[in-house]
C-alpha cells in the first residue's frame, strides 16, 4: 500500500528531473500503469487489516481507487496525444503535478488517520493549482487564484474540524487518537457537541473540495479554464476522494450518536447543490462550465444518497464510479472539441459531430449517460437513490430530486445538442486538431466501461458497493 503512494511520488521526481519534454509524458503513462497494477494486485490479494495501521484497503478505498486508477490510466494515454500537440508549453510541472495528485488521492483513499487525510488533501490542493494555470493566460490565472484561495479556506476549516474531533476524543475514556478505528470504537465516549461541531467544519472543509454548494464557486472557473485532462481528474477523481473523507467523518459521527444531525446536514447541502446546479446549467453557453455545474449536481447526488441510508447509500457508492468514469468521457471529449474549435462557447461551436467523428458523438453519449438515461451506469445508480428516497417515505426528497434532474437534463441538452449538431463549416477551425486514437480512444474506452456497468454489473462489484455502504449503515 505504501508503494502505491510512493511510486507515483518517485515518478513525479523523475518527471521533474527529466530533461526531455518530449519523453516526459511517458513517465505519466508509467505512473498510471504502475498504479493500476498495484490496485489490481491489492484487489486480488487484499492485505490483512492490521491493528492501529494508518493505511487500510477497506471497501471505500477499493471502490474509489478502482475508479480513479481507470480514469488516470485513460487520462495518461490521452496525455500522450494532448501534450504532443501542446509542445509549446513546458510540461514539467504538468506531468509532475499530475503524479503528485495521484499520490495524494491514493493517500486520501487509504488513510484511516484523519490527520494524514488532511495533509494529503492539502497536498492535492497545492499540486493542482499550478496545473490549472497550464494555459498561462489571464483567465486561467484567475481560475487558479480562486481555486487556491477557496481551497485553502476549506482546508483550513477542515483542519479546525479535525482538531475539534481530536478534542472530542480527548476526554477521560476517549481514544486520544485520530485513527478512524479508534474513534469508532470510542463511539459514545466522544464528546457529542464537539463531534457535531467537527462534522460541520469537516463537511464544510472537505465539502469545499467536493464542490458542494454553496462552496462550489471555484469549480466552474477551474474546470472551465483547466485543460480537459485535469478537469477529468478533478471532477472524476479528486472530488470522489473528498467525498470519501466526508464519509469517514460521517462514519465517526454516526458512531458518536450524532448520525441524525449529520444526515440532515448532508441532505440539505445535497439538495442545495442539485438545485443550484439546475439553475446555472440552464442557458449555460460555455460547455466546460456546464460540465462543472454537472459535477456540482453529482456531488449533491452523492451527499443525498449517503444521507438517505439503505440501498440509496449503496447506490451512491455505485454512483461515485459511474460519475467518475462518465466525467472522464465528458471532460476528455470536451477538451478535444475545445481544441478543434478554439472556443468553448456554443456561440461559435457547432457541428462537432461532423468535424470530430469520435469526440462529438462521445460527448453526446456522455451527456446522455450523466443525465441518467438508460442503459448507461448512472441511470441505475441514480435509480437506486431515488428508489431509496421513495422507499424510505421521503417523497419530498425524491420528488425534488427528480424535478431538478429533469431541469438539468433539459438545460444540458440544449447546450450539448448545440455543440454536437449543426453545420461546422462556418465555425472557427484550428488546424491539426482532428480526432486521433490517442485523444479519442481513452474517452471511448471509458464510455464502453460506463455502458458495461449499466448493462451488466458484476456481482463482485455489487457486493463491494454494499460493503462500502455498510460502513455508514447502508447496503443493498
Amino acid at each position: 500500500m505504501v508503494l502505491l503512494i510512493a511510486a507515483p511520488l518517485a515518478l513525479a521526481l523523475v518527471a521533474f528531473a527529466m530533461p526531455s519534454a518530449r519523453r516526459r509524458p511517458l513517465v505519466l503513462l508509467a505512473g498510471a500503469l504502475v498504479h493500476a497494477a498495484g490496485v489490481l494486485a491489492l484487489l486480488a490479494a487484499p492485505p490483512p487489516a492490521r491493528e492501529g495501521a494508518w493505511l487500510a484497503f477497506d471497501p471505500l478505498a477499493r471502490v474509489t481507487l478502482l475508479t480513479a486508477t481507470a480514469l488516470f490510466l485513460a487520462s495518461a494515454v490521452y496525455a500522450q496525444g494532448y501534450l504532443a500537440r501542446r509542445a509549446d508549453r513546458d510540461n514539467r510541472v504538468f506531468v509532475g503535478g499530475l503524479l503528485v495528485l495521484l499520490s495524494a488521492m491514493t493517500t486520501v483513499a487509504l488513510s484511516h488517520h484523519l490527520g494524514l487525510t488532511w495533509v494529503a488533501m492539502e497536498a492535492s490542493t497545492l499540486s493542482t493549482a499550478p496545473l490549472i494555470y497550464f494555459n498561462q493566460n489571464a483567465r486561467s490565472l484567475e481560475a487558479a487564484w480562486k481555486y487556491l484561495l477557496i481551497g485553502s479556506l476549506g482546508i483550513a476549516l477542515a483542519l479546525l474540524g479535525t482538531f475539534f474531533l481530536a478534542l472530542a476524543g480527548a476526554g477521560p475514556g476517549g481514544p486520544k487518537s485520530l485513527l478512524v478505528e479508534d474513534l469508532l470504537a470510542a463511539g459514545g465516549a466522544l464528546s457529542r457537541p464537539w463531534v457535531r461541531a467537527a462534522f460541520v467544519f469537516l463537511l464544510v472543509g472537505y465539502g469545499t473540495k467536493m464542490g458542494l454548494a454553496p462552496l462550489h464557486s471555484w469549480k466552474p472557473d477551474a474546470y472551465g479554464e483547466a485543460p480537459g485532462i485535469l478537469g477529468a481528474l478533478l471532477a472524476g477523481g479528486l472530488t470522489n476522494f473528498a467525498f470519501v473523507s466526508v464519509v469517514r467523518v460521517f462514519q465517526v459521527t454516526i458512531a458518536a450518536g450524532e448520525g441524525a444531525f449529520a444526515r440532515d446536514a448532508l441532505m440539505a447541502l445535497g439538495l442545495l447543490s442539485i438545485g443550484l446546479a439546475a439553475v446555472f446549467v440552464v442557458g449555460q453557453r460555455d460547455f466546460k462550465r456546464m460540465l462543472a455545474y454537472s459535477s456540482v449536481e453529482h456531488m449533491g447526488i452523492l451527499a443525498i444518497g449517503v444521507s438517505l441510508g439503505g440501498a440509496a447509500t449503496a447506490g451512491a457508492f455505485f454512483h461515485t464510479m459511474n460519475n467518475g468514469l462518465t466525467k472522464g468521457v465528458l471532460f476528455l471529449s470536451a477538451g478535444n472539441i475545445h481544441r478543434a474549435f478554439g472556443s468553448k462557447s456554443t456561440d461559435e461551436v457547432h457541428g462537432a459531430g461532423r468535424r470530430l467523428p469520435l469526440s462529438g458523438p462521445l460527448f453526446l453519449a456522455g451527456f446522455l449517460a450523466i443525465t441518467g438515461s438508460p442503459p448507461f451506469g448512472p441511470f441505475f445508480s441514480e435509480f437506486a437513490i431515488v428508489n431509496g428516497a421513495f422507499g424510505a417515505g421521503r417523497y419530498w426528497v425524491g420528488g425534488l430530486f427528480l424535478a431538478f434532474l429533469a431541469v438539468i437534463f433539459v438545460g444540458m441538452a440544449a447546450t450539448v445538442l448545440d455543440v454536437v449538431q449543426g453545420d461546422p463549416s462556418d465555425a472557427p477551425r484550428v488546424p491539426g486538431t482532428g480526432d486521433s486514437w490517442l485523444t479519442a480512444g481513452p474517452p471511448l474506452a471509458l464510455m464502453l466501461v460506463v455502458l458495461a456497468l449499466g448493462v451488466f454489473l458484476p456481482a463482485g462489484l455489487k457486493d463491494l458497493f454494499g460493503a462500502a455502504a455498510a460502513l455508514v449503515g447502508g447496503g443493498w
Partner: protein
C-alpha cells in the same frame, strides 16, 4: 505568569480588530507578524508539567520563524515587487467589518465558557481567542479586494486554527502540528508565486480585476 498569558491572548484579539480596521498594507503585515510572534510565545506560556518540553520548544521556534519572520518577509517582498498601492477599499467597509468582528468576538467570549472541554481544563481565553481569530480571518478573506489582503486574512484564519491546536499539544501527534506550519508556508509560497504572475498579467494585485469568469 497567568496575567502575562492573559495579556498575550488579549493582544492577539486586539490585533484581529486592528487588522479589520487597518487600511495600510504595511501596518497590516506588521500586525500579522506581531500576532505570529505572540502565538509563538503561547506554547511556552501554556507549558505545564506533563508536556514534552523539547516538542513545545520546537513548536514555538517554528512558529516564530515562520509566522513571525519568514511569511512577513515574503509578503513585504511581494508588495515591493508588485508595487501595490497601500490604500485599499474593502467590499465591506472598515466600520461594518469592525462591528461584525466585534460581535463575533463578543459571542465567542460570552459563550465559550459554556462549551465543555473534554480534555480537562484549559486557559479560559484559549478557545474564544481561537474562535474569534478564525472568525476575523474569515471576515478579512471575504471582505477584502486585494489579493495580498486576502492572503493576510487567510494567515489570520490559520493563526486561529493554530491557537486551537495548542489545546491539543498534549495528545496530538507532532505530525499535525508540523502540518500547520508546513501548510502555512506552502500556501503562502504558492500564493506568492501566483501573485507574481498576477502582477505580470495585470500590473496590479486587485482581485476585482479577476472577475472575467462569472455567470
Amino acid at each position: 505568569m497567568t496575567s502575562l498569558t492573559d495579556l498575550v491572548f488579549i493582544l492577539v484579539v486586539v490585533i484581529d480588530f486592528f487588522l479589520l480596521a487597518s487600511s495600510r498594507l504595511g501596518a497590516a503585515i506588521r500586525a500579522v507578524a506581531t500576532q505570529g510572534a505572540l502565538l509563538a510565545a503561547l506554547p511556552l506560556l501554556l507549558l505545564e508539567g506533563g508536556h514534552q518540553v523539547g516538542h513545545v520548544l520546537l513548536l514555538a521556534a517554528g512558529a516564530l520563524a515562520i509566522k513571525g519572520a519568514l511569511i512577513p518577509w515574503l509578503m513585504f517582498r511581494a508588495i515591493r515587487e508588485a508595487s501595490i498601492r497601500r490604500e485599499m477599499e474593502p467590499i465591506v467597509g472598515f466600520v461594518p467589518s469592525m462591528v461584525l468582528g466585534g460581535i463575533g468576538v463578543a459571542l465567542a467570549f460570552a459563550f465559550s465558557s459554556r462549551l465543555p472541554l473534554p480534555g480537562g481544563e484549559a486557559h479560559p481565553y484559549l478557545v474564544p481567542t481561537a474562535l474569534s481569530t478564525v472568525w476575523s480571518g474569515m471576515l478579512l478573506v471575504v471582505s477584502r479586494r486585494k489579493a495580498v489582503n486576502q492572503v493576510l486574512g487567510f494567515l489570520v484564519l490559520e493563526n486561529g486554527v493554530y491557537v486551537f491546536g495548542l489545546l491539543l499539544t498534549g495528545i496530538m501527534p507532532v505530525m499535525v502540528e508540523a502540518g500547520v506550519l508546513l501548510d502555512l508556508f506552502a500556501a503562502v509560497f504558492v500564493m506568492g508565486i501566483v501573485m507574481f504572475h498576477i502582477n505580470r498579467e495585470f500590473a496590479s494585485l486587485d482581485t476585482e480585476k479577476l472577475s472575467a469568469l462569472k455567470d
